[in-house]
């Protein structure tokens, strides 16, 4: 799956470690200790490092998976509970298997995974890496039938795999596409200084949500001493509810590649990477084809557009199921073939990034915006938006609304307008920026999208009146506990404690002190964690306690109740003694 980009001898082996592991898993349906040893030898790595990588990424398995391996999304928008029925249980029942286990005959394994970015398409799953969206009980029954009769995937109904992207509103970036090469020609004509000046004058800020000034980032990277420089595109959009990069990668890949080449031109890089989330692996063939097309057109490779010495090419590295790799230093660790554990910062990637060299890491949307700015000028770009947030933002709208999909707005747009446009008249709350973002109540629907008010990477989750917000909080808490990399104590343990406390409240065993507990715990996780994941993992709980206290208080017991279920705690004793009778239960004894 690696591109044919030539590598220097000082670089890691030709094939990326994640790709090699993926290929082994594809062939043998798991990665055995022998395979790990063999790969460790091939890559001249300690066995421990290979084992750490296998254990870190959710899509790798040391136990054999089924010939059909199904991962249901568990996101609040594209998850298996999205239309009120437990579709994961339904499929398990119909195929006589249970979640997380491979059926004895090796035909099928079914499990759940974090948001797969199909939130505008309803309940969704990945079957052998390919998404099937718009799931309902009828479709599940058909899937069960196809699997039971071992019909190969390419003989499944073709319309299931048709990609339909719902783009409902277009502004600067989505209305026109600069002709391939036009921005690069402009850059070569005006030179590095003016190209960088255009980016700086545009006021473009990082679209992943962080909002760092893109021109400054490129300049820092350009000025940092190093033996080589790298351009990295962060296409690991893992924030639940975000799917705009999925659409951009499909429809606007040319502008993305061009943006990367522009960045390379400015900072002096010869090599770039797109770190593509494993959930979007199915996009690889068309992305590779587009890269090859650009090589044929002289827009990538050696002497780009005939400009002697302007050499730049792009590799795509596919992740393997780890939300944390959206954090730029974790992403770089992953690019280097390691577990995605965020680095100590400073130093920042602009000076010490990939292989310790200056590296510009930019979001997909940021790089596409850069192409537009160079092609059409910075004036056109910052003619819309707000002074602090020039340009537009592409939002991924999903949840309880009539028209989920992609919406591009000038920065400064009010929540109220977005809700009106997407057909969400009776929203109870909106989660802006995904679980790591901000929970907004109707009183704040006049607030605006922008770095100075509500910053977002693009996720816009609408919750209607009928939604139980505690279920949402539990979903988010489970997500963070699952995705915490485990490096630092407050996040590793704190996200588990938040999850357990919320589960306890939902089970009717919470008391008033649990609310205080959530508050204190949330603040520790938010304040004392090592990286952005931990810093934001408790946001939703703290917002909920402040904005919607009844979400939690309505579930509390007024009288004393034990924090644990004593009868449930005896389950293992019943199992050991083969007892299931009424006398073995406390309530009925």
């Amino acid at each position: 799956m690696t591109s044919s980009c030539p590598h220097n001898s000082s670089d890691p082996p030709r094939e990326h470690l994640l790709h090699r592991l993926y290929a082994v898993q594809r062939q043998y349906r798991h990665i055995s200790p022998q395979a790990m040893q063999q790969i460790a030898d091939e890559f001249h790595l300690p066995l421990g490092q290979v084992a750490s990588v296998v254990a870190f990424y959710a899509f790798f398995s040391t136990q054999p998976l089924g010939r059909f391996h199904i991962l249901f999304s568990n996101c609040t928008s594209c998850g298996y509970l999205a239309n009120g029925e437990n579709l994961l249980q339904l499929l398990c029942k119909q195929l006589q298997t249970s979640p997380g286990k491979t059926r004895a005959d090796g035909l099928i394994s079914i499990d759940e995974t974090s948001c797969i970015g199909q939130c505008d398409r309803g309940a969704s799953l990945l079957v052998n890496d390919v998404p099937i969206t718009g799931l309902n009980p009828e479709k599940i029954a058909q899937i069960a039938q196809l699997i039971a009769t071992a019909i190969p995937l390419d003989a499944w109904p073709a319309q299931w795999f048709e990609i339909r992207d719902a783009v409902h509103r277009r502004e600067l970036l989505l209305t026109t596409q600069p002709a391939p090469g036009s921005a690069l020609r402009q850059a070569l004509k005006q030179g590095i200084g003016e190209t960088l000046a255009a980016i700086r004058q545009s006021g473009l800020r990082g679209r992943g949500g962080g909002g760092f000034d893109t021109g400054t980032k490129w300049q820092l990277c350009r000025e940092a001493p190093g033996d080589a420089r790298y351009v990295v595109c962060n296409a690991d959009e893992g924030e639940p509810g975000t799917f705009k990069d999925r659409v951009l990668l499909r429809i606007h890949a040319e502008a993305l590649f061009e943006g990367m080449a522009l960045c390379a031109f400015v900072i002096g890089a010869t090599r770039g990477f797109i770190y593509l989330r494993g959930e979007y692996r199915y996009l690889l063939p068309q992305l590779q084809a587009a890269l090859n097309r650009r090589r044929d057109q002289g827009l990538l490779g050696g002497n780009i557009l005939g400009h002697a010495g302007f050499d730049f090419d792009i590799d795509i590295v596919a992740g393997a199921g780890a939300y944390i790799c959206g954090e730029e230093s974790a992403l770089i660790e992953s690019l280097e073939g390691k577990p995605g554990i965020p680095r100590i910062r400073p130093p920042f990637p602009t000076t010490h990034g990939y292989l310790g060299q200056p590296t510009a890491v930019n979001n997909v949307e940021t790089l596409i915006a850069a192409t537009h700015i160079v092609a059409h000028g910075s004036d056109r770009f910052n003619s819309v938006g707000t002074p602090q947030s020039p340009g537009t933002k592409i939002l991924s709208v999903s949840g309880d609304c009539r028209s989920p999909g992609i919406y591009e707005y000038p920065f400064g747009v009010r929540i109220q307008q977005i809700l009106g446009d997407c057909g969400a008249g009776d929203a109870q709350a909106v989660q802006i920026g995904g679980p790591a973002g901000k929970l907004i109540a109707p009183a704040d629907f006049n607030r605006a999208i922008g770095f100075e008010d509500l910053s977002t990477g693009g996720s816009f989750l609408v919750f209607g009146q009928q939604r139980d917000l505690l279920t949402i909080h539990r979903n988010f808490a489970h997500f963070f506990a699952h995705e915490s990399c485990g490096f630092c104590t407050p996040c590793r343990v704190g996200t588990q404690l938040l999850k357990n406390t919320l589960d306890n409240i939902a089970a009717g065993r919470g008391s008033a002190c649990d609310l205080k507990e959530l508050q204190q715990l949330g603040q520790i996780v938010q304040r004392q964690s090592h990286c952005g994941l931990g810093h934001s993992a408790a946001n939703h709980v703290l917002d909920g306690l402040q904005q919607f206290p009844q979400t939690f208080s309505s579930h509390l017991k007024q009288s004393f109740s034990a924090r644990f279920d004593l009868d449930q705690s005896l389950a293992s004793a019943r199992q050991l003694t083969h007892r299931g009778d009424a006398a073995a239960h406390l309530d009925n004894g």
Binding site: L47, A55, P346, F487, T489
Partner: protein, 244 residues
Amino acid sequence: MMATTPGTIRIDNQEIPFTPGQTIMDAALAAGVYIPHLCHYPGLTPSGNCRLCIVETGNRSVAACITPAVAGQEIRSNTPELNAARTTITQMLFVEGNHICPSCEKTGNCKLQALAYHLGMLDDHFPQFYQRRELDASHPDILLDRSRCILCDLCVRASREADNKNVFAIAGRGTNAHLTVNSPSGKLADSAIAATDLAATVCPVGAIMIKEQGYQTPIGQRIYDRRTIRETGLQEHIDKKNDD
């Protein structure tokens, strides 16, 4: 803000000199100012994972062991709020693992236990996780009990940097994170570790212990029975400096 001479930082209003490249932790320990820590060990590359050395500078909370000292920094460390947060983090470590202080051979020599005393921690506060974790008794001289591991990464770094052996790694995500042994069988007996390695002795808790030495020092006469963790923490730094 008070005027600060170049090359100094202020921790809890005490002026502390530093040399360029030093972290807040290095400068503090060198000046005899103790900042609680578990995953920091003089001479090993700092990691910043335990978060006990959190200090505040401006409105930010940072780990002192990985944050460079910058001239004029105003740092808060020994405050009721930070010590409360440190206590909570210590409680988190206690409930995540299976810490059996009264019957653990490490009792009295254990940094986690000593730190809990230092912070005045009276209970675990949170419900126990009761995780099942693998024990490795394969090595003739060294016992590895993952139940008591706090994932501080000291053995990983000690083996890599001081012993040049790379015996340990941490694998798995979230609370599934666990210590692994870099050998074909995954067992210590098949690894290159020796009882004299720093990796075998650096463990702050009872996860890696030398066999057949149990109770040679009676309870009551152990490290933290004689000195506080504050004194030992500062002494470790002086010892390392003298070695160099």
